[in-house]
Amino acid sequence: MLETTETVRSEYEPVQGRIAWIEQFTDQDKLYVISLPDDVELDHDPGQFVELFVPGVGEAPFSISSSPTKDGPLELCIRAVGNVTRALDSMEGGDPLGIRGPYGTGFDPEALAGDDLLFVAGGIGLAPLRSMINYALDRSGEFGDLTTLYGCKEPAEQLFPEELQRWDDSEEMAFYETVDQCPEDQTWEGREGVITELIPEAEFDPETTTALVCGPPVMYRFVIESLQEQGLADDHIYLSLERNMHCGRGLCGHCQINELYVCVDGPVFNYPEVRDKSEAEV
């Protein structure tokens, strides 16, 4: 028999949070601002995620969009594509839900200190990167030059429009944006084309720059290739990957990429960690 220690709270028990308010970005994407009980401190790293529980529907993992540099409620940018997210889509301010976490290995601001940072965000991939982008903006003295590249399918899919405008206006960070294509029924004065086209245009010094990349699965290979062409070393590339981080605790097995558990070893990986893992598809 093993030593008995006193009963501890199960890792699977969430705390009750409450939707403080919701901001709608697109038909499918909303920002959920969630307040936690006063005695609960999330204390997350940029790039980490939480498990969000909608009672009666289920639980799913979501990257934290808010930066730990800002006090205040938790922010999650969520696309309605599954049962949990569709249930969220029909919820309102004041509605209760469960939160546990934060989980995973996020970006390490200390390791990135002094580097020029190049953020490459495709579509909903902006959600996890925004945490680190705002961290870097709030503590710009700790980093070198900041650059963000953001691409989405079409203008109607643009996330965080007001914030993007502020970034565009900011002296602290260079900001480049593109849409894959602008359909005729939408208006767009910016550039059209895929995100990789922005990489050669952005001005950065490959020697001193670290790229932080997040986007849909198909994006990684092309972005990495383009970064390599610009002279970026592999270990200067960080990727935030998404899998089914079902339990968040390195047990259930659904998020495994070869021997790696995305929920524990990731979701943020230094590129060489996953370069040779065929299941990473990068």
């Binding site: 028999m1 093993l2 030593e3 008995t4 220690t5 009963t7 501890v8 709270r9 199960s10 890792e11 699977y12 028990e13 969430p14 009750q16 529980f53 009672p55 009666g56 529907v57 289920g58 639980e59 799913a60 594509v81 599954g82 997210t85 004041g94 209760p96 839900l97 469960g98 699965p217 998404e242 899998r243 089914n244 079902h246 339990c247 605790r249 390195g250 047990l251 259930c252 097995g253 659904h254 495994q256 990429i257 070869n258 021997e259 524990v264 065929s278 299941e279 598809e281």
Partner: protein, 361 residues
């Protein structure tokens, strides 16, 4: 974190062994059935196979068994379990993780299953932390049993799991007309307190050794190489898709091999709603990496869509991935996957020996 109770040095392997009459052992088990609040379970015969089930009497024990359908893992990590209950009243949710998990007294556990539980302990208690598992495990007693019959599918000797000197509270060996018992923990020692036992004689201990040595030679199947070579061998053959496809072609992708494995611990969680009111629970159940949707995500992408990829993942996980994380090859050689595979493509000795021959031919 060290969780395993370190056995007192006075209850070490040799001088800690006791001998008792078979009837005394039955008295022990019947006493536990009558007096201990925990369930007492053991191997029993049920429609064509052996299963671990709750005991009504020590007389129901089928200690001659070769292999049970499922391993006793099911008592520590049940097939279905409530992880969390929820109930909404007046706009607030009460959410509670289950705390009523109970330990079990498991009688007659073979060494390969003890080895499997030691591995699960490492994952769920020492490393990752799984509260429901920890609580059940720490409240449970394991009474091990030296194998009397060897399943034709088993190759536990190759995996070093035909015999063991750890992972039990008591380990019982049948030496003919009596049992020799090795004490593995303080609690194990306590169990024997009121029984008529005497210290095992030198010849009785020798007899246990002889039975164990003899046992290791009784396996029909074997790995043609030491299991320590498995991780390297598998890493070398990761990209050998032709090999994995040749097995996958015959694989039903039914997940049976996962379900019966004593070291598999992947799971899924789903919501079970009550019919009346806004209440229900989150149910954890066993899941398997051979099943089609195991590696798919909400947006529809499936990262292991091909059967061959899933088939490879299973063998990689057993012999390479878990080793890289925990330092254990997570196959104990019980042979359950082989026995339960309708298509007969799950036998690890087939797969691993084929790979070894391909490398060393």
């Amino acid at each position: 974190m060290t969780v395993r109770a370190v056995a007192d040095s006075s209850v070490g392997r040799v001088d800690g062994m006791k001998t008792l009459a078979k009837s005394e052992f039955e008295t022990l088990i019947d006493g536990l059935i009558d007096d201990d609040p925990r369930s007492v379970v053991g191997p029993q015969r049920r429609s064509g196979q052996y299963v671990f089930e709750e005991l009504d009497s020590a007389a129901d024990l089928a200690l001659e068994y070769d292999l049970t359908a499922l391993s006793p893992k099911k008592y520590l990590l049940p097939q279905y379990e409530q992880l969390l209950t929820y109930e909404r009243t007046d706009g607030e949710y009460e959410m509670h993780a289950g705390t009523d998990t109970e330990g079990v007294i498991i009688v007659g556990v073979h060494p390969y299953d003890l080895a499997a539980i030691e591995h699960l302990d490492k994952v769920h208690i020492d490393t990752m932390g799984d509260e429901p598992y920890r609580k059940r495990r720490e409240d449970s007693l394991l009474i091990g049993l030296t194998m009397q019959s060897v399943a034709p599918e088993s190759f536990a000797a190759s995996m070093g799991a035909a015999t063991t000197d750890s992972g039990y509270d008591l380990l019982v060996t049948d030496i003919g007309d009596r049992f020799v018992v090795d004490i593995g923990s303080f609690e194990g020692n306590e169990l024997l307190a009121d029984l008529d036992t005497h210290s095992a004689s030198h010849s009785e201990v020798q007899e246990v050794r002889r039975i164990e040595d003899d046992l290791r030679g009784r396996f029909e199947r074997e790995l043609q190489f030491p299991p320590e070579e498995l991780p390297t061998l598998l890493a070398e053959h990761y990209d050998d898709m032709e090999f994995w496809e040749s097995y996958a072609e015959q694989c039903l992708s039914c997940g049976s091999c996962n379900m019966v494995c004593p070291t598999c611990y992947c799971f899924q969680v789903e919501t079970v709603r009550d019919l009346g009111g806004d209440s229900g629970y989150q149910q954890r159940s066993w899941d398997g990496c051979l099943l089609e949707e195991f590696a798919s995500v909400a947006q529809g992408e499936n990262f292991r869509e091909e059967v061959a990829q899933r088939h490879r993942h299973r063998f990689m996980r057993k012999g390479l991935y878990v080793y890289e994380r925990y330092g254990d090859v997570s196959c104990v050689g019980c042979g359950r996957c082989t026995r339960h595979c309708v298509a007969d493509v799950a036998d690890p000795t087939d797969v691993y020996n084929d790979l070894w021959e391909a490398t060393n031919a």
